[in-house]
């Protein structure tokens, strides 16, 4: 019956969570397939580095499935999972002893270093330039922008993930957008 359900129409997260709670590894795989990209993006928004974010994503899913029995469904599974991802990435950040949260080592950042911005633009691809600008934002603004634009989360959901109120998530998002406008001005 399970296999048939998966073939016909995608089961909801709620149904998959119920099955996963009962030990259904197939349901866990579907949940991982469905949410690993958002988890990775959340981790990379905090950690900056792809490798660290991939490790944190793995740890996030392991911890989430271990704790699935305690998930009551007060929030959406995705929100709950991304909150775990955020915690895991911040824990990873502490472990590697980074004082500067936004340190993207593999992407140059736009800075107020006095260099001619137009010169920097020519040296970077558009995507790198945008990512570097996002990396300049404080963590909560960065997460709010990425979660809103990449994953379409509501401000209430973002608030749960960044451990703030819905209003604070909205303010963080708008401040982030305003700052990005400045950073990415032609």
């Amino acid at each position: 019956m399970m296999a048939e359900d998966l073939r016909t129409e995608p089961p909801s997260d709620e149904k998959l969570v119920q099955r996963a709670k009962a030990g259904d590894s197939c349901a866990m795989d579907v949940l991982a397939d469905r949410h690993h990209a958002a988890v990775f993006r959340t981790c990379v928004a905090i950690l900056g580095e792809e490798d660290l974010a991939a490790d944190a994503s793995q740890d996030c899913f392991i911890k989430a499935f271990r704790a699935l029995g305690r998930f009551r469904g007060d929030s959406a599974f995705r929100t709950w999972l991304l909150a775990i991802a955020g915690n895991e990435a911040r824990e990873q950040l502490r472990k590697v002893g980074r004082r500067k949260e936004r340190g993207l080592e593999n992407v140059d950042t736009i800075s107020a270093s006095g260099h001619d911005p137009s010169t920097e633009v020519t040296l970077r691809s558009e995507a790198d330039r945008v990512r570097a600008a996002v990396a300049e934002l404080p963590q909560k603004q960065r997460l709010s922008v990425r979660l809103r634009i990449d994953d379409g989360l509501s401000f209430r959901e973002i608030g749960e993930i960044i451990d703030s109120s819905e209003g604070s998530a909205r303010v963080n998002y708008h401040h982030g957008i305003c700052r990005l406008r400045e950073l990415l001005e032609p």
């Binding site: 690993h36 990775f40 899913f61 945008v130 996002v134 809103r148 634009i149 990449d150 957008i177 990415l184």
Partner: protein
């Protein structure tokens, strides 16, 4: 979106880029954006941000699923070892209890083997509350004989 303001139109811009709006919502937002420079700028920025999503490492989903499966297998093994350890402790405690009980048995049998006389009250008088003849005075003896004779 009947009250078309710049602020609430901006709330819909990410969903517009993600193509998640209904036809009516989309028409309303696009109508506003076309007449609002600030929203036009923001929509352009969101499109650029959306196009600069961090690339996923190849095979990440598989790695995650494998890591989860390994963790579950390890957990089952751990539970197995914990059950084995618990069973060993119960067995050890049970054995210890039985051994202690068997150690107390010789004392009981030794007690049982002691002379009945040693245990039993020494003298009928103490047992049946009956006075012994030799303990009676002559007068008491005469009364007793008279009672018996009578």
């Amino acid at each position: 979106m009947t009250d078309q303001t710049c602020a609430n139109a901006k709330d819909f811009l990410p969903a517009l880029v993600r193509e998640e709006l209904t036809g009516e919502e989309r028409a309303l937002v696009e109508a506003h954006v076309s007449s609002c420079l600030s929203c036009t700028d923001e929509l352009e920025l969101i499109r650029r941000l959306s196009g600069a999503v961090q690339k996923m490492p190849a095979g990440l989903a598989s790695e995650i699923k494998e890591a989860v499966a390994r963790d579950r297998t390890q957990k089952r093994r751990t539970i197995g070892w914990q059950l084995l350890a618990a069973a060993t402790i119960v067995l050890a405690l049970g054995t210890s209890l039985i051994w202690q009980r068997t150690q107390t048995l010789p004392e009981t049998s030794q007690l049982a083997q002691e002379s009945f006389v040693m245990v039993w009250a020494d003298g009928d008088a103490l047992v049946a509350d009956t006075p012994m003849l030799e303990d009676l005075s002559e007068e008491e003896l005469a009364v007793l004989l008279e009672e018996l004779g009578g």
